[in-house]
């Protein structure tokens, strides 16, 4: 028996998925959610095998919600926005249903999902969720609550074992992501990877001073000092135009 959850802010959009799901007796619909917050809670509670996920939803969108799930289940995106398709497949979606979709198209998505499930069982590690479009905010979990951090508030990002530490004026947050993920998803003119373990908000740099051989230190407005590697220094120079 597979467990499934529908996350969509439109009741009728949920009801059509429910209707199409009826013949699938091996799939149990455990919950319907109105938004990403309810969705996240339901995923933690039920540990579903499959979610039907809308993208445009209140407060946090489907991609952002998915980023907060540690071991994402299989996802079938359902949306009227065609332009997200590529990003959805980056987010290892089983399929991408464009609203409105027919029963036949839905059944095809279910077949694809089953195939995906079989392949995933063979794969040793689940690939990290990667997104391509530059984000304008970072969504994190903070003591079980969801926090949305607008990018200008992010001072720097630091590697911390399996996690990445996001530092703001109000404190720091951990997110289970790679540095590579942030380097790819943050706007590259504003956030610069100055070191293997650091990505800095370029606007906050007040001074760059030499430090030891081949390396530098970047001083931030809040007084923090971050190491700058040789390649990081070259990157800084080209982007800041110095």
């Amino acid at each position: 028996m597979m467990k499934a959850i529908i996350i969509d802010d439109e009741p009728l959009a949920r009801s059509i998925i429910k209707e199409y799901l009826q013949p699938y007796t091996a799939i149990e619909l455990v919950e319907e959610c109105n938004d990403g917050f309810e969705g996240l809670k339901a995923i933690q509670q039920h540990q579903p095998d499959l979610i039907f996920l809308d993208i445009q939803m209140p407060k946090i969108n489907g991609f952002e919600m998915l980023e907060l799930v540690d071991n994402p289940p299989l996802v079938i995106f359902t949306t009227a926005f065609e332009e997200y398709a590529i990003k959805a497949f980056d987010a290892h979606a089983a399929d991408y249903l464009l609203k409105p979709f027919s029963k036949e198209r839905f059944d095809k998505a279910m077949q694809k999902m089953m195939l995906h499930k079989a392949n995933m069982a063979q794969a040793v590690t689940t690939t990290a969720l990667e997104t391509s479009a530059p984000a304008n905010r970072i969504v994190v979990k903070d003591n079980g609550k969801i926090r949305i951090i607008p990018l200008p508030q992010v001072q720097y990002v630091e590697a911390a074992d399996d996690y990445v530490k996001i530092v703001t004026a109000d404190g720091h947050y951990l997110k289970k992501k790679t540095m590579q993920f942030f380097e790819d998803s943050l706007p590259q003119q504003e956030f610069i990877r100055i070191h293997r373990s650091y990505i800095v908000n370029a606007q906050l740099i007040t001074r760059i001073t030499p430090y030891e051989k081949d390396s530098h230190l970047a001083l931030l407005t809040n007084g923090a000092q971050l190491p700058v590697s040789k390649t990081g220094y070259i990157k800084l120079k080209t982007i800041l135009g110095i």
């Binding site: 802010d9 439109e10 009801s15 939803m57 209140p58 407060k59 009227a80």
Partner: protein
């Protein structure tokens, strides 16, 4: 350079001035010759030959300029062409007059003596004529050019306004169709009703695309359809209140201006908050303006990332600027939990609102 087109009235007026001028000049010429004791018949013939030829030369220059208008070295052109044409004219004039009065020694002597003064006067005349026609044609060309530029600007403006008016989001359509698809299986009557609403709304949108202005009444009717469809989609979450003063219903506003504003408010309200969303639309008359306010709930703490990401307000502001040349007609107010957009539409009293 393309041949310049001269208006018929202009042509006639110029022709009359030209003829009158040469008649006057011809009489002066005759009078002056008589003053120098030349017989009336001699003087008249001399004047007729000289003046008609000089007039022909002037006409040649005027005509020529229709095809070639000097841009650089204008004054040099005036002097050179006047100098050359006057010389040719004088040679011909002398030749013709000499052949007419071969045996009149006294007249021929007078003719030879007066050659220099004839040349000078003719040169001045020719130069004036050339200069005048040069100025006239240049002005004409500039007027045409600026008219053309104004035309181009007007066309560009119309195209932009047209584009700004067509704001309908395809996502709205696809999501509505998805709702209808869901209703078809479960509540066919409701599905039919929603198809009707959607058709009415789309028809209204198509109709409005062709026109610039509409009354508040028709715009609100159109909005109501839009709101009803959105309410089917979002269920209990979406509510709307419309509050219009009696004396505002017949006021005019640009067609399809409110729709993106309300669409914006719904999107903002629904995606930036959780829970119920009430959209308030209020309209009243304030002096010679129609004031419309659209209000939606919002969350200050997360609204930051929405700032400037094309939530439709910029295009509305642009449209107002194109229509009225003012930047102050759209105001945004943010209170703790309310986002309010206030729109002012000037009413033109003369009733020429329909552009």
């Amino acid at each position: 350079m393309p041949e310049q087109i001269i208006k018929k009235e202009d042509k006639k007026r110029i022709a009359i001035i030209f003829i009158v001028w040469w008649l006057v000049w011809g009489s002066i010429h005759t009078g002056v010759l008589q003053f120098f004791n030349i017989t009336y018949s001699h003087a008249l013939t001399d004047a007729a030959v000289s003046c008609s030829m000089l007039a022909a030369a002037c006409l040649f220059i005027i005509n020529n300029m229709r095809y070639y208008l000097p841009k650089k070295e204008k004054y040099l052109y005036v002097i050179v062409i006047s100098f050359a044409l006057t010389a040719i004219w004088l040679a011909l004039d002398r030749g013709i007059l000499r052949s007419i009065y071969k045996r009149d020694e006294a007249y021929l002597q007078f003719l030879n003596q007066s050659l220099v003064i004839r040349y000078m006067i003719a040169f001045l005349m020719m130069a004036c004529n050339t200069l005048l026609s040069l100025t006239w044609y240049t002005q004409k060309e500039q007027a045409e050019e600026s008219e053309r530029r104004a035309d181009t600007e007007r066309l560009a403006r119309e195209a932009e306004l047209n584009k700004l008016r067509q704001q309908l989001q395809p996502h709205f359509l696809f999501n509505s169709l998805n709702s209808i698809s869901a209703l078809t299986g479960q509540q066919p009557e409701k599905a039919r009703h929603m198809i009707q609403q959607l058709s009415d709304f789309l028809r209204g949108t198509l109709r409005n695309e062709g026109q610039q202005w509409a009354t508040l009444q028709s715009e609100i009717d159109h909005l109501q359809l839009y709101l009803d469809i959105e309410k089917v989609r979002f269920g209990y979450r979406l509510q709307s209140v419309i509050r219009c003063d009696e004396n505002a219903w017949q006021l005019q506003l640009p067609a399809m201006l409110l729709q993106p504003l309300v669409e914006n408010a719904i999107k903002f309200g629904l995606y930036d908050t959780i829970g119920e969303v009430e959209i308030l639309i209020a309209a009243k008359r304030v002096e010679e303006m129609l004031e419309v306010t659209v209000q939606n709930p919002y969350d200050e703490s997360t609204a930051m990332q929405i700032k400037g990401t094309g939530f439709g307000l910029a295009s509305i502001r642009r449209r107002l600027f194109l229509l009225f040349g003012r930047q102050d007609l759209l105001q945004i107010n943010k209170a703790a939990e309310k986002f309010m957009v206030t729109l002012h539409v000037p009413q033109r009293t003369t009733g020429n609102n329909k552009q």
